[in-house]
Homo-oligomer: 509 residues x 2
């Protein structure tokens, strides 16, 4: 019994360190007592493969979420788009008697593609394990979470989606559940929306919105996605960058040629691609494409002020990421985020390493990623890149080159424009924005980090344009989560703190 | 019986078309009567995987060759190097009573690495099949060769090594066999050498030569490797380019980063590599590295004359390969071959296609191939490239970057210099060179193509330097064989004509 008193004291100490208000402390205490069950359910969720294009498994994820919601007393339904066979979004709603406001919570359950070979030995995308720290920083693998097993708050769970963005689904549902279990009263209606196509550009979200407009109406949608600030402080993000990807393929000879027999004669598509990419962006990170930085809507005074108060993170990041000099040496990370980007996500021509052979490749490919800021139109921005490529002497084609095209043009490039969308930014001074800020601040003693726009992209403009709702993002996961890449992971204490944050927002008036 | 007479007439007609002298006709007739057995043995040989680094299967190839030699009455032995565990070369010798000269015949039985995914549907590297023509040009798959099955001379055999260079082993052994079976007398001693490490740079050939110097002595070694001239004419090559590969890895941040959250801040190694490669070679194929074209020993008058008589192949090649403009628009293929090259064999950073994700990659790799001409030293040539890279602001490392290196240098590159060797060129006017030319000419009515140096590389300088032998290459396979790449293939009539050519050389005095 004495032992239990100590345990209680230790718990109270733990709770008061991380949480601000008494409300938040109650939720934190509930989480601490139920952490084993929460983790157990979460690793089951992570074990279901969730690559967006894997429609069979994606549907299994949706069904799992419906079950989770039922267990928590939330009635759930699948919302489909207009197009047949669209991956459904999962919707749920809690109607609060007498409430005049509705707050929606959004997360996505699909994940980026995985190349299991690139994951660290012992880590597999869809076999979640506990790790003490990132393995590349000397972390150790604890193993799969066993029912009832001890949990260290500092450990992480590794697996695709662990951070981006099954963490969002998990935290939203458990925040509601914690409020119910601890007997807290709600003042607003709560809506839940979990999307399954975010990582392929939310290609049907507009259809789902149009078809379910009434159901999805809310005063504000709160997006639970992305990482908290590098400083570790709780973070609110008022905007996101837009995004569009372009796949480029430059062609050489029709068949791979012996680099001895044809070297100095056959055009090398890898070199051509290198020249083309070099022409797009200089060695100091400046994009050289005509008009690339035009159209940008400047920040407001409040946004500029918030920007100036964001803690400096560059020194820490440089050290942790092993970066000697950032791409643009005179610009901070946060300043760079307020500008559009042109990045190479991937590049390939024939093979390197043990598979390399002495050939002149037939083609060279690059995937470009254009991030957009408020004011940019994604189609226009891509058109500027295409105009630049044409200016470099390329004839643009839509498929593999035909005989005629080969005989007619010295430089052929295939350009596939992927689905894209524009940036979005909500004014920080709106009353609903202020309420959310107060709620999040109530869960922590440290000042919040308020970011006018985050670097990542979500199709948030749809919430404004179709639903007429405001939209604000509250990211909850650790910044070093390897989101979109191999060895993705989430810190367990960030999950618990995320739940506390969301529970506080759910209680606004 | 009448049918047989017609068959005999048709055969004679066939023989007289492709072969010049009566000697050659006898061999051709023998081949025609035995084509089924020859092909049957060859497809068995091709079915043994032969990637140079696959030591278990490489040894199976060596054992198969020993068996082939035994069946043809040639005593065979495995020659090893000084280093333990070196892939053996297969050696054999026929001593001719009263002969004062020795002619050696060399081929290699190992092949370039394979990436089965890159092969055309229905083709597998080590499951040889007959095809009517290259599949990319509308050819059809006939299927595996079945014992006793009909053979169309225009068909091809597809599989790794079919052209490069099991064709050499097959043609040499069957040339000798054809002479024995048709009762032809030899005037010189014949030596056979089949190497198993050619495609990894003949890394132990020097050891094998040093250890077996007496055994391998010959007046001239005839190298059976590489393709005949594009015109289809029979070809003699008096020299080869040297070769050295360099693997480059440019580094970005320690872990893959979300291209939204870190775009415009984290250095992108793919872009850095693009800039670096662009700085090495301009858009007209001119290498920009300091001193790259120095050290070249000019061609002699006979070599220049031979060069001027080589049939123009560029127009045909452009059409067939779908090349609108060669790398250097004002230079012919053969002129380019007389110069050193810098080619990108492969390039990779993160992923493209369905595996692409929105990351800033951690590294970008390129494999460079430097071909060398007479006068270049391969180490010097590589040093010029390294000096250029340093001049572009890179710090060169030998392994993965350490924390200290990351904190100290803005640009890190790992350079792995692969094993290389220098070019070689035998004067065309030497008596032995003249004898071989006469022998090859006796098998065809068309003028030969005499090439001072071919584009490809073989470590032929070792024959001169260690064995003190002259060395001349007689390539036998079709030029469009996809050597070193996917869908490698050899035309069946080129195999038969190759055997005829070699049989004629074996009969010189």
């Amino acid at each position: 019994m004495t032992k239990d008193i100590f345990k209680g004291l230790a718990l109270l100490l733990f709770v008061s360190c991380v949480s601000g208000s008494l409300q938040a402390q109650t939720v934190a205490k509930h989480l601490k007592s139920n952490d084993k069950q929460l983790l157990e359910e979460y690793v089951q969720f992570l074990a279901i493969p969730n690559v967006s294009t894997d429609t069979v498994n994606i549907r299994r994820n949706a069904d799992f979420i419906v079950e989770m919601m039922k267990r928590k007393g939330i009635e759930a339904e699948l919302l489909s788009g207009i197009t047949a066979g669209v991956t459904p979004a999962v919707f749920g709603e809690i109607k609060t008697p007498g409430a005049t406001k509705s707050i929606g919570f959004y997360a996505h359950y699909d994940g980026q593609p995985v190349n299991p070979k690139q994951w660290h030995e012992g880590l597999k995308p869809f076999e979640p394990v506990l790790i003490t720290a990132p393995l590349e920083n000397g972390g150790k693998i604890i193993g799969p979470y066993k029912k009832g097993g001890e949990i260290n708050q500092e450990w992480r769970i590794s697996g695709r989606g662990a951070a981006d963005d099954k963490a969002g689904v998990m935290a939203i549902l458990n925040a509601y559940d914690a409020l119910v279990k601890t007997g807290r009263k709600l003042n607003v209606n709560i809506k839940f929306l979990f999307e399954g196509e975010e990582e392929v550009g939310s290609i049907h979200l507009d259809e789902i919105f149009k078809r379910n407009k009434q159901k999805l109406q809310a005063d504000c949608w709160v997006i639970i996605d992305g990482p908290r600030h590098v400083s570790g402080r709780k973070t609110i993000v008022y905007g996101v960058r837009g995004d569009v990807n372009m796949a480029l393929t430059v062609y050489g000879a029709k068949r791979p040629l012996h680099s001895g027999n044809y070297g100095n004669w056959a055009p090398n598509p890898a070199l051509k691609l290198a020249h083309l990419l070099s022409s797009m962006k200089d060695e100091n990170g400046k994009v050289l494409i005509n008009g690339f930085y035009d159209d940008i809507i400047p920040l407001t005074a409040s946004e500029k002020k918030a920007l100036s108060q964001i803690p400096d993170q560059d020194a820490l990041l440089k050290k942790e990421l092993g970066v000697h000099t950032p791409e643009s040496p005179d610009r901070s990370l946060i300043e760079g985020i307020m500008l559009p980007t042109l990045n190479i996500n991937g590049m390939q021509s024939a093979n390197v390493g043990p598979l390399a052979s002495n050939v002149i490749p037939t083609k060279a490919e690059a995937m470009l990623d254009l991030r957009l800021v408020k004011g940019n139109d994604y189609k226009n921005q891509a058109e500027k890149v295409i105009a630049h490529i044409k200016g470099e002497g390329y004839h643009v084609i839509n498929g593999e080159p035909t005989e005629e095209e080969r005989s007619k043009y010295p430089n052929l490039i295939r350009i596939e424009l992927k689905h894209g969308y524009n940036a979005q930014r909500t004014p920080m001074d709106l009353p609903i924005a202020q309420s959310i800020q107060t709620a999040v601040q109530s869960t922590t003693k440290e000042p919040l980090v308020l970011i006018p726009s985050m670097g990542g992209s979500l199709p948030l403009y749809l919430f404004e344009e179709i639903l007429g709702s405001k939209v604000i993002a509250v990211p909850i996961v650790n910044y070093d989560n390897n989101q979109h890449a191999e060895n993705e992971n989430v810190k367990i204490n960030y999950l618990w703190e995320g739940i506390e944050t969301i529970a506080a927002i759910m209680q606004i008036r």
